[in-house]
Structures are given as structure tokens and as C-alpha cells.
């Protein structure tokens, strides 16, 4: 095959098709890695299931109201769905672990397509976990569903999107995997604690409840409570989703501004 660079490329993607092709390629590679490494499965699915079984009765109280165990299960699901922060951050750091970052810097794909492709598999896992746990709690743990499944799905989608955006931001502003991992675990625990994912908001001290309002967890649980124990009002769900989306937009914008394909990071794996 001879090289005649003056002839135009034959079948390369461009425009919208190119954007989606880039996102698809990165997502496919990331999905293969996540599925084969399996740790994401453990942290997103198995760990919350085990903790719900062990701690659920304690969190919901021994003489809990009907559906309280289901409520505790949803809390653990929300908490561990935020592992999407860690796995989104790792998806970006992966290029530094495997020295493929130079290739991304050379290719310079669309930042949005690149980021979307990188975080999509972890988002899909977390979203599936939220739906699965909610379904399980509704079917077997007496969790009522006074609202609708689309309300649960919308809440789950915006929650994992906020986690992915936060993961992207943490990647953009850190220089090592260790720093990202430490920060994301800190986020996981504190957001879950003050947001009411571990213990219901009503049982938290006043200052903690006030702090909870700045976490996506608080708003996600508010929407999920409305869809399950509440009256299923869309206004409450949409308001909560809007707050979470604002958080997502702020994180994504800041990450996009801070991120540069030519950034150098410390490889600490």
C-alpha cells in the first residue's frame, strides 16, 4: 500500500457520526476492561447487597415500620452507586497506568465524546444496581412504590451522572490515582452519611441535615422517598433531579476546563 496523503481519507467518521463513534469506541474498551477486572462488580453490586443483609436490620431498627428494611436497602444502593466516582476517575487514569495517554493526546478526540465513552460503562453498572436493588426491595422487602418506575429511573440516572461528573473532575484536578481514590472514598462516605443514605435524615443531628442539602444523595433520596413511600409527585422528583443536574453541570464544566489531553500524571498503580 502506497502513501499518497493528498488523497482524502475514504471512510472516516465526521460530525455527529464521528462524535458517537468516538464515544462508542472508548465505551466499548472501558466496558471490556471493567467487565474483565470484576472489582467494579464487587463494589457496586455485591458489597451493598452484603451490607444491606448485615446492617439493614440495624439501620432500619429492630421494630421498624413496614418497608423500613427496603428503605435501608435503597440507602446502601445509593451509597455504593456512588462508586461511579471512583470508577469514572479510574477510567481516565487507566490511560496513565497503561501508557495509552500519549495516544489520546495525539488523537485529541472530542472532550465530551471521550469523557462520555469513558464513564458510560461505570454509569450503566451503577444505574443497573439502583434499579435492581429498588426492584428487589419492592418485591421482597415490603418497599411500597406509590410513584412510578420512571421516577426511580430518572433519579438513578441523574445521580450516577453526577457521580461520573465528579469522578471526571477529581481526575482533572489530581495528579495520582492514590489521591483520586482517597478523595472518592471520602466523598462516598461523607455524602452518604450527611445525605441520609446510611441513616435516615430525620435521625441525623441538625448541622448534619443542613450539610446534607449540598449532596446529590440527599436530593436523590428525597426523590426516591417520594416515588416509594411518598405520593409519587413528579414535581418533587423533578425538583430534586434539577438540583442534582445543576451539581452535575458544575462538576462537568469545571472538569472540562481543567482537563487537557497533554496533562502528565503520576502513575501510582
Amino acid at each position: 500500500m502506497s502513501h499518497d496523503p493528498s488523497s482524502p481519507p475514504s471512510t472516516t467518521h465526521g460530525g455527529v457520526a464521528g462524535f458517537f463513534n468516538e464515544a462508542r469506541c472508548y465505551a466499548l474498551t472501558e466496558w471490556r476492561v471493567l467487565a474483565r477486572e470484576r472489582t467494579a462488580m464487587v463494589f457496586i453490586f455485591i458489597l451493598p447487597a452484603v451490607l444491606s443483609a448485615i446492617l439493614g436490620p440495624g439501620v432500619s431498627g429492630l421494630n421498624a415500620a413496614p418497608g423500613a428494611m427496603g428503605r435501608a436497602t435503597i440507602g446502601f444502593a445509593v451509597m455504593f452507586s456512588y462508586m461511579v466516582v471512583t470508577y469514572s476517575g479510574h477510567a481516565f487514569y487507566r490511560d496513565f497506568w497503561y501508557h495509552t495517554q500519549g495516544r489520546q493526546a495525539l488523537l485529541r478526540p472530542s472532550k465530551l465524546a471521550f469523557a462520555m465513552g469513558k464513564v458510560l460503562p461505570a454509569c450503566a453498572m451503577s444505574f443497573a444496581q439502583l434499579l435492581l436493588f429498588t426492584g428487589f426491595a419492592a418485591a421482597f422487602l415490603g418497599l411500597p412504590l406509590h410513584g412510578s418506575l420512571p421516577q426511580v429511573a430518572l433519579t438513578g440516572a441523574v445521580l450516577v451522572a453526577s457521580g461520573a461528573a465528579l469522578g471526571f473532575l477529581l481526575f482533572a484536578v489530581t495528579r495520582s490515582t492514590a489521591t483520586l481514590s482517597n478523595l472518592s472514598y471520602l466523598v462516598l462516605v461523607t455524602f452518604s452519611a450527611v445525605g441520609g443514605a446510611i441513616v435516615v435524615t430525620e435521625a441525623l443531628p441538625g448541622w448534619s441535615r443542613a450539610l446534607g442539602h449540598v449532596t446529590p444523595h440527599y436530593w436523590a433520596l428525597r426523590a426516591l422517598n417520594e416515588a416509594t413511600f411518598g405520593e409519587g409527585r413528579w414535581s418533587v422528583v423533578l425538583q430534586s433531579a434539577a438540583v442534582i443536574l445543576t451539581f452535575t453541570a458544575v462538576c462537568a464544566t469545571a472538569a472540562s476546563l481543567a482537563f487537557d489531553f497533554r496533562d502528565q500524571k503520576h502513575d501510582t498503580t
Binding site: 475514504s10 471490556r32 488523537l107
Partner: protein
């Protein structure tokens, strides 16, 4: 079309580079890559060879001054340049085929990508291990997969940073054949290597990088012909005293004259009869190794 095999695909003029807060690594670096040629980049460790490749591919921040120009027609820069970094860039849990396919699917249409993957796997003799995950491969095999994955989209400009590291003889020969084939196909190739022997085998032109500055040495053949042959003779007299004669010349007359300087009891034609033992007779052709040693000496 306007492009001959000698068309300059990439030209860098007066580039300087420094890492943030650090001393300059490159000063006024100038380089041209022409189609159908392979430039061997010589330089000691730390001379800035890898940095220069990073600057040429625009994957590093910190370039100041100068101009970097691509003349690759309608091809976008991302498709025009392929870069095999010194560090192996592969996803270990993905198979060989998936790693090679990742870049192909990013840059090429579906059908074109499929054909490019098949062709590349064949060119690098990776067919038998196409479905093997990379973490199961040896270091040498990974290097070959890395090269295959870096150039699957057949870019006209190909940069290779230490491509022969960890390769056994057979794999190294495969890389040499591939680089020569790319040259014959009209690609512009730039290669760095730890060993001058590798550069000598791969390159048609030489550039020396020293103290962050490039020096165009011209065609490899011209550089080698400027070097002299070396004849070394070492032996022992019957009395067990050693003698040695080293000649560095291309002139036969000079050789004859020098042979006259041998000890009086040593005559090449009567070595055996006179009891002298010839330990070594070494005729060394001009090589890049000697040139590199001289060039890199402080």
C-alpha cells in the same frame, strides 16, 4: 497529486522546549521527514530524543517558538501521524485483536478498520495470538502488538521510539522488515534506538541530537563512507611477549607502510615458521557505533 516520494511530510523549524520550571530540553530543534525515508535520531541518554518526539506529535505542553508544519494533504493530523511510544501502550486485559482494533475503529470506517486490523495482524505475524489477552504475552510479543496497534491506520508519518527494546532476533528482524516496507511504500519514518546498529539497519538518514540541538548529518551512506576501516593485529612472539598493531585507514598504501612498523621478528607471511602466534586479526568496517561513540563523547 503534487506529492513525490521525496515530499516533506513533516517539517519542524527552530523548536524549543522546556518542562514547567525546568531547564530547556530542546533548543532550536530542526527536522524534516520526507516520504520514502527513515531518519535515525542519534543521541545519548537524556539528550531529549523522546521529548523531541513528544513535541513533533504535539503531545507535550511547553513548546516555545519555531514552527511545526504537516504537509499531508486532506488527512487530518490525527490520522497522518502514528507514534509508537517507548513505553508499551496496551490494555492488558484486552486481547491482541481488541487492542489493535481500538485505534482502528476510532480512526477508520467500519469496513476499512476490519481490513486494516486483519492486514496489520498478518504483517506483524500476530494471527496465532490474536485472541490472547495481552497480559499473557511475553515482553517481546507485547512490543510487537504495541507497534501494530500504533500504526494500524497506516499513517504516512510514523515515529518509533526505541522500537527494538526487548525483541529477540527474529522479532527484531520483523521490525526491520516492516520499517523498510513502510519506507518503500512511501511513508516518512523517524526512529530512535539504544543501539546504533539498529539505527544503521533501519535508517536512510541521520540526525544527531546533542545538548538539545539537532544536527542534520545527511544520508547514512555518506556518514559511513566518511568513517575509516580499522585493522587490528595482535599476537605473541616465541618469547611470550605480546605485540599489537592497529591501523585506522582506508588507504592500502598506508596499510603497507604501517605493516613495516611491525616488530622486526614478526613477518605476516612467516608467522607460523618464526613461532609467532597470531591471536587476533580484526578488520572492522565503518560503523555507526564508532561514529556514535565519537559524537556522544564530551
Amino acid at each position: 497529486m503534487g506529492h513525490t516520494p521525496e515530499t516533506v511530510f513533516l517539517s519542524a523549524q527552530g523548536l524549543s522546549f522546556a518542562f514547567a520550571g525546568g531547564a530547556p530540553v530542546l533548543r532550536d530543534a530542526t527536522l524534516r521527514l520526507r516520504g520514502g525515508t527513515c531518519v535515525g535520531l542519534l543521541g545519548a541518554n537524556g539528550a531529549g530524543k523522546t521529548t523531541l518526539l513528544g513535541v513533533l506529535t504535539r503531545t507535550l505542553r511547553g513548546t516555545t517558538g519555531g514552527a511545526l508544519r504537516l504537509d499531508v494533504g486532506a488527512l487530518p493530523a490525527r490520522r497522518a501521524i502514528g507514534f509508537a511510544t517507548q513505553a508499551i501502550a496496551l490494555y492488558p486485559v484486552l486481547t491482541v485483536e481488541e487492542n489493535v482494533g481500538h485505534l482502528a475503529h476510532l480512526l477508520l470506517g467500519r469496513k476499512e478498520a476490519k481490513a486494516a486490523i486483519a492486514r496489520t495482524l498478518e504483517e506483524f505475524a500476530l494471527g496465532p495470538i490474536a485472541r490472547t489477552r495481552v497480559h499473557h504475552l511475553s515482553g517481546g510479543q507485547r512490543r510487537l502488538v504495541h507497534l501494530a496497534a500504533s500504526f494500524v491506520h497506516a499513517p504516512p508519518i510514523r515515529l518509533l521510539d526505541e522500537p527494538t527494546v526487548a525483541l529477540d532476533f527474529e522479532a527484531r528482524q520483523l521490525v526491520v522488515r516492516r520499517v523498510r516496507a513502510w519506507r518503500e511504500e512511501g511513508a516518512a519514518v523517524l526512529v530512535t534506538a539504544h543501539y546504533p546498529e539498529d539505527i544503521e539497519e533501519l535508517s536512510t538518514e541521520l540526525v544527531l541530537l546533542r545538548d538539545g540541538t539537532t544536527r542534520d548529518l545527511g544520508a547514512l551512506g555518506a556518514v559511513l563512507s566518511s568513517q575509516t576501516r580499522t585493522l587490528s593485529l595482535r599476537g605473541e612472539r616465541p618469547t611470550d611477549t605480546a605485540w599489537e598493531l592497529a591501523l585506522t585507514t582506508n588507504s592500502l598504501e598506508e596499510v603497507r607502510s604501517k605493516l613495516g612498523e611491525l616488530p622486526s621478528d614478526v613477518h605476516l607471511s612467516e608467522l607460523r615458521l618464526s613461532g609467532n602466534r597470531l591471536r587476533d586479526l580484526l578488520l572492522r568496517d565503518p560503523s555507526l557505533s564508532a561514529f556514535a561513540r565519537e559524537s556522544e563523547a564530551p
